[in-house]
Symmetry: C3
């Protein structure tokens, strides 16, 4: 059995296979319309997320399967204080695959270690959101024809944008990727991503505050929202906000084949007037998200024929010697859960919590 | 492609066809049980409405299709400020037809102009609710055998009751309809409905505060609820409330074949004791609502084979010269939406907002 | 037609048949995968209960049927004050069977008297929860091979635990059952259950506060949660709480084949360490809950071919002479509902409300 918690749970080869299955689904939808007949997907959404939830549900229906679930913590037993481990064990009796969204970082991993069915992380707080990354990759592959040899610009809130971190992490395994980081100073890419991902993997990157002048060099522009709440200084926000809004006029500086991505929902960071531009691919991204989730559900259900439960990779694990201090980490709330950490992949001197990946004090 | 936003989006002939399809579904349910195999309905309900939502969902399941959606704004991306236009574009990738309920007037129209799939208005604030009108019409047709030559009484809150306005509007296109308007003075039919619909179409009508003495002349009695909140003067409410409650005793004055309709939910405006009376048709109305929604879904999916997107009828449109002042209008909240108005159909001197139909100041 | 409101609505023979159908479903799942094709279950959940709701929904999907419904009162018309009788009549047009959960005691009974489809009580306040009892019985039958000749311990909150009351009531119809009641004094089994069920049926029982020393004699240990809120004296709670937590160490005193049940969700009353013990059957109970609900849905749909509506057993009914004083009783909120009581089955001198079973003052 296999779960998808972190995009790196899949090798580049496995991701390629997933994307190829998605392409085959797009080309031959009828071939897949009964593949999940009799199968049930449980969408366990502890916080609202229409787009992601409906994408999973639509994916399962298009495969001929059924869906059960909840769309907010209020309508779940979570309000009665049930652990994620117990919920996972219970739902394993009701469904064949779980898609879980929660503000608690590491919860989908805990669920996957206790479930007897595959678990898909549909977003855990600011931590991970691997199926968005799969949607991003499929869109780039379809639109640009390749996942190597690209200059990719990320614009907006690079500090808190988990979709940005995930996509950079995914690209670290492809060849000849140039990264352009476009953001206000307040919202720069965190240094641990810069060091652990970009530098350790020798990926060329530059940092800038200037969207307009970065446009001519980009193959892909990944936009995200700059939220007022992120700024301590409101004047600073007012001064900056317009420079990170993409308009038709600004985008004239881009290449003829630069594509625009956005994880959505947008508020006003891309002008509606750009929607009709062929290079605006954020609604195509939505469609691709559905197709790649169909491919993922199929893959995980196939792998689930081997009933061996998911476990932590034992190498280097340190049990109950260091406490994770991240207040959003699953170790803060889950009943009888061990504190487990291990050395960082890229920097062996650093210990990270296995659930939320935050640095743990030695 | 066609959407149903306003009941007058369909001609009388098209409505007749819809009702006939509904009758055929009632007569031969099995014939239709797989018609929507592989199709997905998205129920986007930004405010709770069990009856309408479950009616749509049941309709889709009885056609062999699937359903995705949400049942309150809390569990949707609306809380993140996504525009209706974007939501429509996103959901077009997940489903084949949308049923939308929202307190924001004109939002379903905006959705229909942006979606690449048909949109059904399942109620937008106090504005329109065309599928309820279809349920009303089917019930009258089944019970009375005709939609012409009828005396129809509307009783209760005629001021705010959108189902009343819609049904009167629908009847304006049939022949020899007499309207009896029964309400307290505080809740009389708005003058614009009287002028624009009844008078412009030469429909005979009378206004009265007396339910009991109106009963003997009615073929159809359409009851609605008189809500305490609508009265500034609580004493006035206390004095009046019982006169608009229909009891077994009161209804003895009615003809042997007068049918009672009610859009439901009722609170106490029709005594439970009347439920067993054969002329009480409000639960039959519920069943008819499901059948006519089945017919509607089928019709819209058939018309959707022509992929041409819905657009505003361009005739007479005036862009961005007058602002709609209705605080519930979609123009108040939607990102980058033009203010558009046009001359009223019945009175060319009056301009109306194309989204919410409210009068616009010149 | 038949509804399941109280576990005693079914005879012991009928329960045996249900359990046998469940066993056949477990043995031959494919045989049942299309049995409910074209049928719709409505899950009307006026309060959150993930486990029970998803169990019903999974059950219906595994039978090939569809599901509609709501998962909290907020997203239902309940907020508009609709009566349970009207909701039942409306939903009868949308679905083929109802599963209803509500905090209002007696509401599912009222629904069943008004619906033209079967109603399943999925929990009404502190009153009844018969499908949990069916899950308990199936688990004991599968694990112990019998429902007679058992010593059954109930531990924890025996005062408010409706699953405890229901299971004791169900066992009163089997032979040679010994009951051990283990609880703090504050949470003892209510005397009416002791008198009306245990004593009237000559069931041997003992009361104790000592879990550890009771373990060696039990065939079945039914754990429930001891909630802090139940204690007026917080010191008392602190003193007691650990004695009702089952740990691996404590359970060593039990027999080799003592099984542990729990209605879930648990908080900390059973140590997670016990989950791997073969005798820990609370997650098997979850699976059994689904199977027995599948059997129940099938049985009720079969019986629904006879369209005769459910009615109160007329014998001994007393109308509108005594008012029920239970503030949670349906008679407190439902429009135009008669107050009806009748003599207790076990003590003819006592009158009980037919809806909530609470004693009524003469």
């Amino acid at each position: 059995m296999k779960s998808l918690i972190d995009i790196t749970d899949f090798s580049v080869k496995e991701i390629d296979e997933l994307l190829n299955t998605a392409l085959d689904i797009i080309a031959h939808p009828k071939k897949y319309s009964k593949k999940c007949k009799g199968k049930i997907l449980a969408t366990l959404f502890y916080e609202p997320s229409t787009r992601t939830r409906l994408s999973f549900e639509s994916a399962m229906h298009e495969l001929g399967g059924s869906v059960i679930g909840f769309s907010s913590a209020d309508s779940s037993s979570a309000s009665k204080g049930e652990s994620f481990a117990d919920t996972a064990k219970v739902i394993s009796n009701y469904a064949h695959v779980i898609a879980m969204r929660t503000p608690i970082e590491g919860a989908p991993l805990v669920a996957s270690l206790n479930a007897s069915i595959p678990v898909i992380n549909a977003g855990d707080g600011g931590h991970l959101h691997p199926t968005q990354t799969l949607a991003d990759l499929l869109t780039i592959k379809r639109e640009k024809g390749r996942l190597n040899n690209l200059t990719v610009g990320f614009c907006g809130d690079l500090k808190y944008g988990r979709t940005v971190h995930s996509l950079i992490s995914a690209f670290s395994r492809y060849e000849n990727i140039n990264i352009v980081l476009i953001s206000p100073k307040e919202l720069k890419l965190p240094s641990y991503v810069k060091h652990d991902v970009l530098e350790k993997n020798n990926m060329p990157y530059e940092e800038t505050t200037d969207l307009e002048n970065s446009l001519p060099k980009l193959d892909v522009l990944y936009m995200t929202r700059v939220q007022q709440e992120r700024f301590a200084d409101k004047d600073e926000y007012e001064k900056l906000k317009n420079s990170y809004i993409l308009t038709k006029e600004k985008f004239e500086k881009a290449k003829k084949d630069t594509i625009i991505l956005h994880p959505l929902p947008r508020v006003n960071e891309i002008s509606v007037k750009l929607d009709e531009d062929e290079r605006a691919c954020y609604f195509k991204q939505v469609a691709n998200g559905k197709y790649v989730r169909m491919a993922l559900i199929l893959k995980l259900l196939t792998l689930a024929k081997d009933k061996t439960k998911c476990t932590l990779n034992k190498e280097g694990l340190i049990y109950n010697q260091h406490k994770c201090t991240n207040p959003k980490c699953i170790t803060k709330t889950e009943q009888e859960l061990d504190n487990v950490c291990k050395p960082s992949k890229t920097d062996g001197d650093v210990l990270r919590c296995v659930y939320c990946d935050k640095k743990v004090n030695k």
